[in-house]
Amino acid sequence: MLEINKMKQLEEKARQIRIDSIQMLTEAGSGHPGGSLSVADLVAALMFDVMKHDPKRPDWEDRDRFVMSKGHCIPAWYSALAQAGYIDRNLLPTLRKLGSPLQGHPDRVLLPCLEASTGSLGQGLSIAVGMALASKMKGNAFRVFCMLGDGEIQEGQVWEAAMAAAKFKLDTLVAIVDHNGLQIDGFVEQVMPLEPLADKWKAFNWHVISIDGHEFGQILPAFERASDTKGKPTVILAKTIKGKGVSFMENLCDWHGVAPNREQEAQALAELGVTKSK
């Protein structure tokens, strides 16, 4: 019963992430809705269930770390930060506007509750490796979570980081691949094939878990299994739908980097169950 309540709460958090992302991106007039929608459930699970953190102590040394390596999906995390109380909700409509701490891609200097500045793809897993090494020096004081895009892992640096994480047996490190199968120029498997993807990570000595990235019944146990796995890092290959939750955006690479207009926003919000207000 408790579990069902928890899932319902997480679903509500994820729905709010999707609503906020659509509204922020419409207001900004640019940005990346497809990926923000595909990571929403994973981000909700991390912020509101999996990660050890305290919004009252954002600089708590032993907090778990989250690195949004696919930096263009940061609107989803901004929403989660607002829902958790790290930032004021009123900041959300300033996304991508001049002078806003909510940069189009994450900037930890302007928004210190972010753990890393990213946006140039392929760098986040290395940063997460460094954080996990620091955790190891403190007796595994905290866990480190890194969200990767599937297109992103075409970058060679990701595999350099993968080698290092296995070498140092970084079992506090969890990489999540938001495997929506699309990138800007088309299907990942056509632009630059990744398959056999699970075998690649296994060959790099990672513990691999494949799940449906929109099912909390699979997401939460995956993070638990990652936590239980000792001696090697875990990667969660999360099959997702780009644009998930907004019918006309789903599975279309054209919605990778285009913001909805007001009409499309209204339709998207209606589908996300927002009744007309304000």
Partner: protein, 314 residues
């Protein structure tokens, strides 16, 4: 004082300060025997991380360590490290984290290994990054003090430290105090100024001595901090002398000489004659360090000739 490679001083200093600087960690990419980070590794194996021949990941992992309160020194040859520019740009410089990027084997002074192992454009690209401090010490004592400073949060952002493979004669006295961002007048003079950095400072001093026999009284300034550069001292020299020669074992495009020229352009006019001397926008090649310095005009005679050339334009 015996001549010593600045990479050697670097390794020894790191090993010395390890005990008093617990936040210092060191990473290398399979060159610890050449960068001399092995000296730290031997003493503090728990704080030394071998990242293999994968420099981009080393840069990023260092950023992650720094974001968790460490002060990482990451070591490789200058060209291999600064070649991972995009990772340095976002994970380190944009993030404003105290990663110490230590590029050894700078310049044609490495000798026989040839061009692919020579850092020749690293100053240019590192100083183009906002928040990046760029330091190139000229001898043992200067290197020691620069490393001691970089081991603390006194430099809160990222820094690039450019070191030599070859041994360098001392140019500073034993009571020398390194001051970040302050050029050092090693020799006074009123006719012209030779501004040098790194391994060629000593040859520049020797050239200045020979110039006196020809009636030219040259001031010699050691620019150990290429960024932030000592604009006030450069302006002062521009007002007090009539010609500038900059000398560096590095491409003249955008290096220390370029940085000096920018100061003159922004603060002038001073009516000064200037010549940037160094690697003339070309790649290096194999040869002994001595042969190369002679062939590329970075030995005493080469610097002397260029000093006379720019002085003749007054």
């Amino acid at each position: 004082m015996a001549a010593k490679a600045t990479r050697q001083t670097f390794g020894e200093t790191l090993a010395e300060i390890g005990a008093t600087h617990p936040n210092v960690v060191v990473m290398d990419a399979d060159l610890s025997k050449s960068t001399m980070s092995k000296l730290f590794a031997a003493k503090y194996p728990d704080r030394f991380f071998e990242l293999g021949i994968a420099e981009s990941n080393m840069v990023g992992a260092a950023a992650g360590m720094a974001l968790c309160g460490k002060i990482p020194f990451i070591c490789s040859f200058a060209c291999f490290l600064t070649g991972r520019y995009e990772t340095i740009r976002i994970s380190v410089a944009y993030s404003q984290v105290p990663v110490r990027i230590v590029g050894t084997h700078a310049g044609i002074g490495i000798g026989e290994d040839g061009n692919s192992q020579m850092g020749l454009e690293d100053l240019t690209i590192m100083r183009a990054l906002p928040h990046m401090t760029v330091i190139q010490p000229a001898d043992d004592i200067e290197t020691r003090q620069a490393v001691q400073l970089l081991a603390t949060n006194a430099v809160p952002g990222p820094a690039y430290l450019r070191l030599t493979r070859q041994k360098l004669e001392a140019v500073n006295k034993s009571d020398y105090r390194f001051q970040l961002g302050k050029g050092v007048v090693l020799r006074d003079g009123s006719d012209m100024t030779i501004l040098a950095t790194g391994g060629v400072v000593h040859n520049s001093l020797k050239a200045a001595e020979l110039l006196t026999t020809q009636g030219i009284n040259a001031r010699v300034v050691n620019i150990h901090t290429v960024k932030p550069i000592d604009a006030d001292l450069i302006e002062k020299c521009a007002r007090e002398t009539k010609a500038f020669l900059t000398v560096e074992d590095h491409n003249i495009v955008g290096g220390m000489g370029g940085a000096v020229a920018e100061v003159l352009a922004d603060r002038g006019p001073f009516g000064i004659r200037m010549l940037r001397w160094g690697i003339q926008d070309r790649f290096g090649e194999s040869g002994s360090p001595e042969e190369l310095y002679q062939a590329y005009g970075l030995d005493v005679d080469g610097i002397l000739a260029k000093a006379k050339e720019v002085y003749a334009r007054i």
